[in-house]
Amino acid sequence: MKAQDRTWRRALRRDWQLYTLAILPLLFFVIFRYAPMLGNIIAFRKFQPGGSIFGEEWVGLRYINMFLSDPTFWNVFTNTLVLGGLTLLFCFPLPIVLALLLNEIRTRRLKRFLQSVSYLPHFLSVVIVAALVMQMTAVDGPINQVLKSLGEQPVTFLQQPEWFRTIYVSSEVWQTVGWGTILYLAALTTIDEQLYEAARMDGASRWRQIWHVTLPGIRPTAVTLMILNIGTFMAVGFEKILLLYNPLTYPTGDVISTYLFRMGVLSSNFSYAAAIGLFEALVGLVLVVSANVISRRTVGTSLW
């Protein structure tokens, strides 16, 4: 214990100026990251607007039981899983495919042009993307123009619950797939050219080269991105859904985060919403930790 004290004292004497640089950032983390984590305690305490941010009195599991017996909660829970699953299903593998296709382009300027275009949507505000989606799917928009020319009736896509998932996932694909190729393209350039030569010597076709050399080469990148994707699984594009959904599309579009936004911010049921939010965050934590463990055990790559 004594020795510990002494090394700390020596570290403080030598590096006190460095430690002072850390004060403001640490204050940021304590106030705006860790205090809200503790603030989740209002899931178990009665909260009064204007009162303590940590609530007034214990109510035990009241709010937990409340949402567990709330049919709307289970509906939004299912929607979250479906939308999260569909997003993962499309937005995870498509960047790999696009990166492999881009990698086959031999003209450097053409390749750079293709990359620039495909990264572009990433830089747009989610509000802009939502507005573009609305224009594309509008009754007078391009999609309905095609339908009209085929002699079909126009469809009010954003008011149909059965279209919401398609629209949401398509817009995610449109915005994220190009940017998602960056890390794969980088990984592809690090694959040793000799491996390809060796494969050619063995008579491997291009497909077999991709299967046996290229894909194993980008596997660590893919696994890392997979774990990160699973970590954000529960939080599915909250802001975009908030912009795109409406009461007509709640049956498929309403997810946990939008539901708790309405419950908390709009209806001021802060404790109830916090209980749902805590549940969401814990499920997310469990998902990312288990994805990490599984990938470490099976493929030997992990985030930590």
């Binding site: 590096d15 850390a22 572009l120 802009i128 939502a130 609305m134 912009l243």
Partner: protein, 292 residues
């Protein structure tokens, strides 16, 4: 064996690949050109669903309507103001912490790193944050936008990785010359880090420029909205339409058209700087990936 690269199968593949990638480019760019065409078109043609890639009934009326709405410019100005302040705060805090974390000899460094990294995998969530910002009295001020998002841990790790890659002897020489830690950071390290600082400024600036949700949550009056919230109120069919219409007195050139113009005017700054800044983003992401 050499023929593999130029075999018939491969040529077919190249052709198919070209078709697919052309399709990707078309799908990516189509919405932009469609919006541009709509923004210059006459309402009747838009309503009839006859505007595609070329404007019909070319006119600038809608641009005049939007440009003459003082609220639009006011909110545009807010976006600039919020972006500048928030980026400044973010860059200062991120640089300081990244520099501290890059010092491998520092006692307690691992704990300091974990304090940051843990927030990547677990967060307090919307409601406690909302309650906190409200009870701190930050509503209706730029601080409600700047402070809760002051450090992005991803950017922090990018900067830390960069600082770690700097040669140490320069700093040691400066220390021997009697410069203290702040002097070393400001006069030695920062001039060497212009590229990474520029990248970080871009990362933060674009994310603040694009953000809308904090402002939507914490700003009560339309004079305080950034332009993203102005646009969101349009697409949500809220207040914007009457405002713009009342100002110009031209309700015929209504919602959909004004929306296209607002989109165009909001996207222009991003598109204007995009070709120049894109490579910084790419290199920043790479740097982050090495250490992330």
């Amino acid at each position: 064996m050499v023929t593999v690269g130029t075999s018939r199968g491969y040529r077919v593949f190249q052709a198919v690949n070209a078709v697919i990638l052309t399709g990707v480019v078309a799908v990516t760019l189509y919405p932009f050109f469609n919006i541009l065409a709509r923004s210059f078109s006459e309402e009747t043609f838009i309503r009839a669903g006859e505007v595609n890639l070329i404007p019909r009934g070319f006119n600038l009326t809608t641009y005049e309507i939007v440009a003459s709405d003082p609220m639009f410019w006011r909110n545009y100005g807010n976006t600039v103001y919020y972006t500048v302040v928030a980026t400044l705060v973010a860059i200062i805090l991120t640089t300081c912490y990244a520099y501290v974390l890059s010092k491998k000899h520092l006692k307690g460094r691992t704990a300091l790193i974990w304090i940051a990294v843990f927030t990547m995998i677990f967060s307090g969530g919307l409601i406690p944050n909302y309650v906190l910002v409200t009870s701190l009295g930050l509503r209706n001020s730029v601080w409600a936008i700047a402070l809760p998002n002051a450090i992005s841990v991803f950017n922090l790790l990018v900067m830390k990785a960069f600082f770690e890659s700097l040669p140490r002897d320069l700093e040691e020489a400066a220390a021997i010359d009697g410069l203290n830690t702040y002097g070393i950071l400001w006069r030695i390290v920062m001039p060497l880090s212009k590229a990474v600082v520029a990248t970080m400024v871009l990362f933060y600036a674009v994310s603040f420029w694009n953000s809308w949700f904090s402002a939507f949550l914490y700003m009560n009056e339309s004079e305080l909205f950034p332009v993203t919230v102005y646009l969101r109120n349009f697409i949500a069919g809220a207040t914007g339409v009457e405002n713009a219409g009342a100002v110009a007195g031209e309700l015929t050139q209504a919602a959909a058209n004004i929306q296209s113009v607002t989109i165009v005017l909001t996207v222009i700054p991003i598109l204007a700087v995009y070709p120049f800044v894109q490579r910084y983003f790419v290199s920043g992401v790479m740097l982050g990936a090495v250490k992330g």
